[in-house]
């Protein structure tokens, strides 16, 4: 194979896209021709550079735009979910709220009973009444109902609430 022909076949040689006899001939020529070897390396580096390009990300909203071009609203993540069935996240949230509503009073009640046993019922009630009377969100009428207005006055709390 002469130099002129070899030079034209270098890309195909690089890609191993030559017939086997041509591959062998090109290889023999390359062994004797530094010019072709340099040319081949340049082509190889160019191919490598092109192969190293990263795929750009899809533009934002690609799928949504595609659906609108198809004349359909983009399906949300739950499009496949039957509407009458609670979605798992919703179902879980409802279950969690149920648990909280049941568990918090139960645990609180248990803690109060333990503390009352510890300090004695009188002191516990007194402290509880004081704490509740100071709670800015607590309804005074309710505290009075539980502890009686007289008891609140006894511990120095005004049943009608702090003077504002």
């Amino acid at each position: 194979m002469n130099h002129h022909r070899a030079v034209r076949l270098l890309s195909a040689y690089l890609d191993a896209e030559l017939a086997s006899e041509e591959m062998a001939e090109a290889q023999r020529h390359l062994a004797d021709c530094p010019e072709c070897r340099a040319e081949l390396e340049g082509l190889r580096a160019t191919r490598r550079l092109l192969g190293s390009l990263e795929a750009p990300d899809l533009p934002q909203g690609f799928a949504a735009d595609l659906w609108s071009r198809l004349g359909r609203p983009a399906p949300g993540p739950w499009a496949w979910w039957p509407f009458w069935m609670p979605r798992p996240a919703t179902a879980f949230a409802v279950l969690a709220l149920d648990l909280v509503l049941v568990a918090v009073p139960a645990i609180r009640g248990h803690q109060y009973r333990l503390r009352a046993a510890e300090v004695g019922p009188d002191l516990f009630l007194r402290r509880a009444a004081q704490a509740q009377a100071r709670d800015p969100l607590m309804d005074r009428a309710f505290v009075g109902l539980v502890f009686t207005d007289a008891n609140l006055r006894l511990i120095g709390e005004d049943p009608r609430g702090p003077v504002r």
Partner: protein, 195 residues
Amino acid sequence: MARIQEQERPADPQDDRARFEALVERYGRRVYAMAYRMAGSEADAKDLAQEAFIRVWRSLSRLRPDVPLEGWLYRTVTNLFIDLLRRRRGPRIQSLDEPLATTSGELARERPDASADVERTVLGAIVDRRVQQALMSLLPDVRMVVVLADVEGYAYEEIASMMGIPVGTVKSRLHRARLALRGRLAPFRDGLEGS
């Protein structure tokens, strides 16, 4: 057996949508990337990629789920790009100095945490931009061959069938493309040599 079920089952629109979504998810980025390398602008690339997927949607019932769609999609994008060039009447020659829409913003946004990564990403974005500019300086027919061969990694035979040209033409166009790019990209290419 799966195919028999396929035919017996009545068309379910929910099912089609899920299948289509999965296809966009799976092939969207690569199809868009190839369109971008060919067309050189994000707007054209998006348009071409979406047009290709619209064709997928229209022939969804005829596409067999077990056959990879890649070749079909690439062929479609290639043909759509040829149509686009025809509509615009002839190749648009782009100057190497002309600012080019790139994805560098996207790339920088991709990994905002590590500074070394950002540096590498910025460098990569510059090289990417230069390579894309060099690609755009080629004639579209030549560019398509080199994108399919060297960016996407297709064999000559596959490219010939995608573009509807003889293998010999693929061979000569690819060689021409590489020779042109080799000259234009020498500084970046040599920088890459060590790695």
